[in-house]
Symmetry: C2
Subunit: 448 residues, 2 copies
């Protein structure tokens, strides 16, 4: 009776029906590889390519295959929620960039910005490819902002960013093309900016917490580049990182080597002899831009007293691919990737071992019921693949929970359940399994 | 009591709370414009820029502002669902394109493809910017497909496409940069391809139905370009279109002028004297690619008999901006845009008229309750804006349902409700309004 009802549900919901067809490893066109590609020296690229998460197009340029796409989308949704929570409004800006606007702020010349990709319009004129977005957002706002009543504003987008990097051997940690969230804040004055800047610190910390790397990630005092004396980076400890930072564990703070000066340490209350030198990767940065850009672009407003003032800007970036690559670098073990639940491509990896009929029916039944419940599950339904191979693939792919259905598990009372981080599994009944697992927060029909 | 409960709900749900703060016209940074920009001659760009939906970066390049972004996302979700339903699997391919791969199929040379944007890598070598995707998808599959068991496969992505067009005066109907869905099918043979091709016809028809233009859109017989003799376009009747088609109303079929030959008409059972010449825009196309690309790229599989065969390919594109622009072209009236419910940025435009305290409280209460119910509502809470201006803005923005709260509407019994397509509204009580409106299918917290 249960089965008949289940089948009816599926027929009534064509999306669920299509999903149940699709989320099978036999239908996943990517296959795992035993060998790492010879030209990849980074751990993240090695594991992600072996697992079929990404495909290398050329040095520093990767496509995201179905499994990798799911991880990227989950990271996107986590970031989106945090941006919306602080009052961010999403839009979608263009990749092709207008030369004139960047000339206004003196950032068009290759001598000033050495990572531009540029191209030519067929009917004359040069255009740039988006490598950052301050100019574009400020220029858009110019036509809408005139009064103090129009501010503050917090605008963001997710977009593909192109940077003409010479170094690109770190897999998806540093790409020539990468998927990036950038938020720009437009405040009336420094005090208003400061309030928002502090909120963004918390939002960023929430993001790193939700993707599972907060225990390794430090708010780091860094150089402010061309715009301000200092900025803040979020640095995650890993030997794959390109930066050197000095961690003050007791204060949960770090200092980037580039600003490791007595003056800085005193201002942060850090003692030099308590700091530990570490390699780290910058997974996010937040910048006070001040008024230099708004002055150059003439983005101003009239305050309550009728005085014209430049808008006070800030800039807040996160590379989604880099974040994904960092999670792989810091959480993987010698068997493969270990995804945190929040960004795993699936919540459960259901393995059917052997070709026994009862095993097959049980696996299909559990798979269907989990899917109906909204649990994101991938079924390894491949024939002629040994148990050993299926286990090795499950370890490589790194889905947080492995559920094995075999003749033995059925004899023992149901399904053998093991976390990716555990060595030994335990037997639970199918009914218990269904009760244990919560539906996905993100509707799986949105992007399976 | 109702109000207290409502406030508690908001406090418990920070996303809802942020949304209620955000979805106010006083907080929307874009403002409507009375005048069309002088350099825009197309109706879609005129209305979308005046409404603050899009921003022109340069000819043929537009950014999507918050309202336009919402419309684009809804179109994206409609397309995604239909693609998933036919078994499509989503991924994310790169913009930077490898010269060598395109040389293999003889599509790198500007003499063969005259819309390439190309750029140079800093450490030597030329790369292209993605204007289409057949080569890339086929090249990715090459490493995974070997047996007939690996096929068929249907892969797609949404991406920003760059084309070096000379003509670009049609607003978002023809861009140098545009957001595009492309699906590629990989079948074992022509028969298997044909089955899927027919499914895609239906999927495309569903999409045009869901975005509200199916009554003007014809399946159109067209040239197959370099790949096959014929292809199918979906053409929407509009004077803004660039194509000429001949419509056979009784067969719900059309023929593109480029293939308007006796042979074609006979094969379709169309009579020449019953056809009506129309201007139309191609809102989608589906192509049989056959085996020419897979042969050039060496994408093959071994069949049941052990014979090596080339994969049989198809290609299915939709430009999301073009679709959005087409809806504006064909459904707008002399007062502004008329969005279908399915892709409107909001379901309800709630207008608060005047600064009366009771009116203000009632509007806030209704706004809050609708938001809590999951109805996508934008509140025009602007002070010092006349009723006439608010009405004109509502007409320009084109949200399907207008709900007015004023001293008069309250005296008359509640809220004055009017569809965008109606001339006269009617009074309903707040309670009736809440009952009438259904929660949004798409979770508003995902991208407000």
């Amino acid at each position: 009776m249960g089965n008949i009802l289940a089948e009816r549900t599926v027929l009534r919901n064509p999306f669920l029906s299509a999903m149940i067809k699709a989320m099978r490893q036999s239908r996943l066109f990517t296959k795992t590889k035993k060998e790492a590609p010879a030209d990849e020296i980074s751990r993240n690229a090695e594991l992600l390519i072996r697992g079929g998460y990404i495909h290398k197009e050329m040095a520093g340029v990767y496509s995201y295959l179905p499994l990798g796409f799911r991880v990227l989308k989950k990271i996107e949704n986590i970031i989106r929620k945090e941006m919306n929570l602080v009052g961010g409004v999403e839009m979608k800006t263009a990749i092709l960039q207008n030369k004139e606007i960047w000339e206004t702020t003196n950032r068009w010349d290759d001598k000033e910005v050495d990572i531009w990709f540029k191209t030519k319009l067929k009917n004359g004129g040069e255009v740039g490819l988006s490598w950052s977005n301050e100019e574009d957002f400020a220029n858009i706002l110019k036509q809408y902002v005139s009064s103090y009543k129009d501010l503050p504003l917090y605008l963001y987008d997710f977009k593909d960013i192109l940077r003409n990097e010479t170094r690109s051997k770190s897999g998806i940690l540093r790409g020539r093309e990468f998927y990036w969230k950038a938020l720009y804040s437009f405040a009336r004055d420094e005090a208003e900016h400061h309030d928002f800047y502090e909120k963004m610190k918390v939002a960023y910390q929430n993001i790193f917490k939700r993707v599972g790397i907060s225990h390794l990630t430090y708010l780091t005092f860094a150089s402010g580049g061309a715009f301000s004396k200092y900025s803040h980076e979020f640095q995650t400890i890993t030997s794959a990182g390109e930066d050197t930072i000095y961690v003050g564990e007791d204060k949960a703070l770090a200092v980037n080597k580039e600003v490791m000066e007595d003056e800085v340490l005193i201002s942060l209350g850090l003692e030099k002899n308590k700091l530990v030198e570490m390699r780290a990767i910058e997974v996010g940065n937040i910048f006070t831009l001040g008024t230099s850009k708004s002055e150059a672009l003439n983005l101003s407003y009239t305050d309550k007293n009728g005085d014209k003032k430049p808008v006070f800007m800030g800039s807040y970036g996160i590379g989604l691919g880099r974040l994904m690559g960092t999670v792989v670098e810091v959480l993987s073990d010698d068997k493969g990737i270990v995804w945190p639940e929040s960004i795993a491509p699936f919540a459960v990896h259901l393995l059917r071992l052997g070709e026994d009929k009862v095993v097959g029916q049980t696996a299909e039944d559990v798979y269907r019921k989990l899917s109906e419940r909204g649990v994101e599950v991938m079924l390894d339904d491949r024939d002629n693949v040994s148990a050993g191979e299926k286990f090795a693939d499950a370890d490589l792919l790194g889905i947080p929970l492995r559920a094995v259905i075999s003749e033995r598990s059925i004899k023992d009372g149901g399904v053998e359940l093991k976390k990716r981080t555990e060595d030994k599994g335990k037997i639970v009944s199918s009914e218990e399994l269904l009760k244990m697992l919560k539906p996905s927060v993100i509707r799986p029909d949105a992007y399976f």
